[in-house]
Amino acid sequence: MSSLDKETVRRIAYLSRINVSEEGLTELAGDLTRILDFVEELQEVDVEGCEPLTSVADLTLPLRKDEVTDGNIQQKVLSNAPMTDAGCFVVPKVVE
């Protein structure tokens, strides 16, 4: 049985890039532990020699010619951005 403590939840929240308040961490620790308890029963299944099933689509991924198929749609690409400047997305300063 895995029980998540507050510090583990803090780490998961950071990996998920979601700000969580101190209070929220406690609540989430409870919720996430409930969910993990629930999925714990999988451990009893015998999967000896079983290959993981990543997709039910019985397909070989198709290949196409390596060529440009679209482009020149800068306006469209930027049209929903919260902040743009001179045809670019604007991000906070990342280099000191």
Binding site: S16, N19, R34, F38, V39, P52, L53, P62, R64, N80
Partner: protein, 492 residues
């Protein structure tokens, strides 16, 4: 004059062809009904101007003798399908105001075939939920009422689509199904919902939740309507590498009404502990109807059924945590940033403000099961159990043509129930999740009423890419069940 909102797709198609009414009239009748039932909150965005414009164009097209399979038929589109120039939210705050610059493959096929869009239907946020109570844009209310008159959930995640069809606010609607999101709300609202085989419909332009499970499908009033609409949604698409390069059959032609000699499997593992008596009864009635129609009923075993929910609640959140990483407050959607914030601060604040509780929980569970040290114990293990579930069905389908089971373990419940514990809500998907994990087609159709007078659905599961058998058996079951009850106390 006929109430145009009570027509089936097939009836409306025939009426339009005969010139009994125009698409504009049909569309106006539905827009009026949407206005009258706004309290149910079935739509996030209504598009009346676009609808009338599309209906006019459709009438003009028909006048020139050029009518598609869905010509002039007004439908609701789940707000998970990107629609060009029309706000697409996935019921999330983080996508509020997002107007795609492109049209999803499924909606463009429907529009090419003549369908008219009435608006964007409400859903659970990012299609994560079974009650349509996680939408940022408010709960959807089921048009059906129990004896105590309380507001009931429409099911989820395609709750707005189901409520719109059941309430006469659309002739039909698109839905998407990841673990039951078409079939379970169809059952709760007394309509037909078909989740096609994984790969039958293109996922391109559908906001992604769990890419190995997501599949679009029709939500309609009848089995015939589902066959008609699926024909206009399905087909190979080079833009979705998992869409199957297969021809689209004439699904309507599959409705022969003849299932003599067909073998229908009854999985004993679906008789779960604590299943309400009326669900057991409903299922037994369904078995009797199919037997009466000349089918042979066979017991089958799906031994890993009890592990399906656990598998799903690892695989789906894992894929979701990866898919939803794209909401970064940069390229589209909401951004929250204060003076002096770093890039990480901006990501974390935007995502905390933009995602609701259930979405945050699933992203974090997914992140956890994919993280170093836990990947093998959880994620990889789940993928292996998923193969066991897949093999169970393959073995069963060596013996039978289709499987019959209940759609959901209960009728629609009151808004606010099952909210105290996330796991309680997950249990609503117990009968729909296995077929999703195996990528199989599943059809839910209304087959009876609960003691409260609420609709209950039965589910037919078929072999991969054999929607035709599912529809054929569904058509027979539909005729035998003769479900005529309607919400709002309307006469059938």
């Amino acid at each position: 004059m006929t109430d145009l909102t009570k027509l089936t797709l097939a009836e409306a198609r025939d009426g339009l062809a005969k010139g009994d009414y125009t698409s504009v009239e049909l569309t106006q009748a539905h827009l009026k009904s949407m206005e009258a039932h706004r309290n149910l909150n079935a739509y996030i965005t209504e598009t009346p101007d676009k609808a009338i414009e599309m209906a006019k164009a459709s009438d003009a097209k028909r006048a020139k003798g050029d009518a598609g399979n869905m010509e002039g038929l007004p439908i609701a589109v789940k707000d998970l399908f990107c629609t060009e120039g029309v706000q697409t939210t996935a019921a999330s705050h983080i996508l509020e105001g997002f107007k795609p610059e492109y049209e999803s493959t499924v909606t463009s096929k429907l529009f090419d075939n003549g369908a008219v869009m009435l608006g964007k239907a409400n859903l659970d946020e990012f299609a994560m939920g079974s009650a349509n109570t996680s939408s940022y844009y408010g709960n959807v209310i089921n048009p059906w009422k129990g004896k105590d008159g309380k507001d009931l959930v429409p099911g989820g995640s395609s709750g707005g689509s189901a409520a719109a069809v059941a309430g006469g606010m659309a002739l039909a609607a698109t839905g998407t199904d990841t673990g039951g999101s078409i079939r379970q709300p169809a059952s709760y609202c007394g309509i037909v919902g078909l989740k096609p085989t994984y790969g039958r419909c293109s996922r391109w332009g559908v906001v992604a939740f769990a890419s190995s499970l997501d599949q679009a499908g029709p939500m309609t009033k009848t089995v015939r309507d589902a066959a008609i609409m699926l024909g206009s949604m399905a087909g190979h698409d080079a833009k979705d590498s998992t869409s199957a390069p297969m021809a689209v059959p004439d699904f309507e032609a599959a409705l022969t009404g003849d299932i003599r000699g067909m073998k229908i499997g009854i999985p004993k593992e679906y008789r779960v502990d604590g299943m309400p008596e009326e669900i057991t009864k409903l299922w037994e009635n369904g078995v009797a109807m199919l037997r009466d129609a000349g089918a042979e009923v066979v017991d089958v075993t799906l031994p890993h059924t009890k592990y399906a929910l656990g598998t799903y609640y690892i695989v789906a959140p894992a894929e979701a945590s990866s898919n939803l990483a794209r909401y970064d407050g940069l390229r589209y959607g909401q951004r929250v940033m204060d003076e002096g914030d770093s890039l990480d601060d901006m990501y974390s604040k935007s995502r905390a403000a933009g995602f609701g509780k259930e979405v945050q929980r699933r992203i974090m569970i997914g992140t956890y099961v994919l993280s170093a040290g836990y990947y093998d114990a959880y994620y990889n293990k789940a993928l292996k159990v998923r193969r066991r579930i897949y093999e169970d069905f393959a073995n069963a389908f060596g013996k039978v043509d289709a499987i019959l089971a209940p759609t959901a373990p209960s009728a629609a419940f009151a808004i606010g129930e099952n909210e105290d514990d996330p796991v309680k809500m997950y249990l609503n998907d117990v009968f729909t999740v296995p077929a999703s994990l195996a990528g199989l087609p599943g059809l839910s159709l209304p087959a009876g009423l609960s003691s409260e007078g609420l609709p209950l659905g039965l589910q037919l599961i078929g072999k991969p890419f054999d929607e035709e058998t599912v529809l054929r058996v569904g058509g027979v079951l539909e005729s035998a069940a003769n479900f005529t009850a309607k919400p709002f106390g309307q006469e059938g």
